[in-house]
Symmetry: C2
Subunit: 238 residues, 2 copies
Amino acid sequence: MDSPLVRKLNGFVELSRRDALELESLCRPSQRLPARTRLMEEGERPQDIFLLLEGWACRLKILPNGSRQILGYLIPGDICDIHAYILEQMDHAIDLLSVGRVVRISPERMQAVLNDRPAVRRAFEWSTLVDIAVLRQWLISASRRSAQARMAHFFLEMWLRMRQVGLTDDGQFAFPLTQVHLGDTLGLTPIHVNRTLQQMRAEGIVSFARKRMTILNPDRLAELAQFEPDYLHIQRRG
Amino acid sequence: MDSPLVRKLNGFVELSRRDALELESLCRPSQRLPARTRLMEEGERPQDIFLLLEGWACRLKILPNGSRQILGYLIPGDICDIHAYILEQMDHAIDLLSVGRVVRISPERMQAVLNDRPAVRRAFEWSTLVDIAVLRQWLISASRRSAQARMAHFFLEMWLRMRQVGLTDDGQFAFPLTQVHLGDTLGLTPIHVNRTLQQMRAEGIVSFARKRMTILNPDRLAELAQFEPDYLHIQRRG
DNA sequence: CGATAGTTTGATATCCTTCAAAACCTGTGG
DNA sequence: CCACAGGTTTTGAAGGATATCAAACTATCG
């Protein structure tokens, strides 16, 4: 039974048994944390590297005018900036959305693993590039796509990412966001989120309730979103 | 006379004479290219690492519906993804906007320098983090800021970045964009760009003509943009 | 079982887009 | 040096997507 970290990185680069073992050892000792835990404070100096093993977290920033922007989500297997400790301060916060399990890894420990295991280093570099590609897609969404398309794009992204780490059951997966969160990630008011969601439900494209998302019509969703899955750079192997 | 690369990285990390020399050597042999040269094609496998020494370039993507999104700008001293060669294909293109001067660096050569010079490695990692922070700010702009604020934020960003590499003359600097480019970077129609610019000109905040930008009232601009310059992580040194 | 967070509805306002066309540059060839 | 072509900027009018404001309704959790 692989950890989500191994699953994720293995989706990028072929890992040996040794690589996988080394990665598993990075996942201990883990710590269980309640929902809404702030993992990282804006302005704080990042010390350790956080690795998320269970639950969802989000990067978020409160703007001077009081509005909130969510800048990305972390799901199991995701790491909160492998190089963050280089900078003197975080320019955004990171919050757990649901109960979660987390490991803290010291930069030295991480460095040792990267030096020992070239494939692991490669996989992490790959993963960083994908994070950036995701951010670019979010920018495109915010700047060029309609509310429906944005939302569709986001749902598909999270579906594929959850699938990569083995956390989907067909079209279904845990999705611990409120409509307010959705608004803050897509740059829409919760009111408009609600109306857009209703349309999608009415057309039988997705259903989303009680913190679970079900993708009912992936093709229609991809069409709405103009979705080009290549940006996630997930390798289909075997 | 330092190259823009040394200037930029020196704004992040204190570099030794040896570090600087090594970086200067990366800047040769350079190649002069005409405006509108495509430096990198979408879908292409990235081979060498591009370093821009003169002129501006932009990352751009054409969406399935035909609209164009500019995803970022490269100015002298900027590098086009130090790790891009890891992926099999670019998910966006890179175009020169003006005449430019460019160096191509092989991944092996770059690797050698990074291994030899820890401070240089650190500076490049820092630089990558700043690129990501810039992208996050673009996302915030597109998703939460008004047309005026977006534009103001962008102008300030480019001003500070140009200043970091010594290419400003007070509030003035080269700015080789058309209003159409501005629209494609800010997610606005050129018509609205034009009207927003007129307001700013009328209020005496900026003036922009003949490929030169002049920041007339930086304080007002920062206020409009809700600008927090820390995200650029430029160190003010003695 | 009550309090609080989250969802839904309705009415109105606004920012930005779209469409259409004129005016203005900038550079190129005759 | 002028004329012309293409790209760029500017203007006007009208429409649409999303925001704002206000309030009811409904889950969820201690």
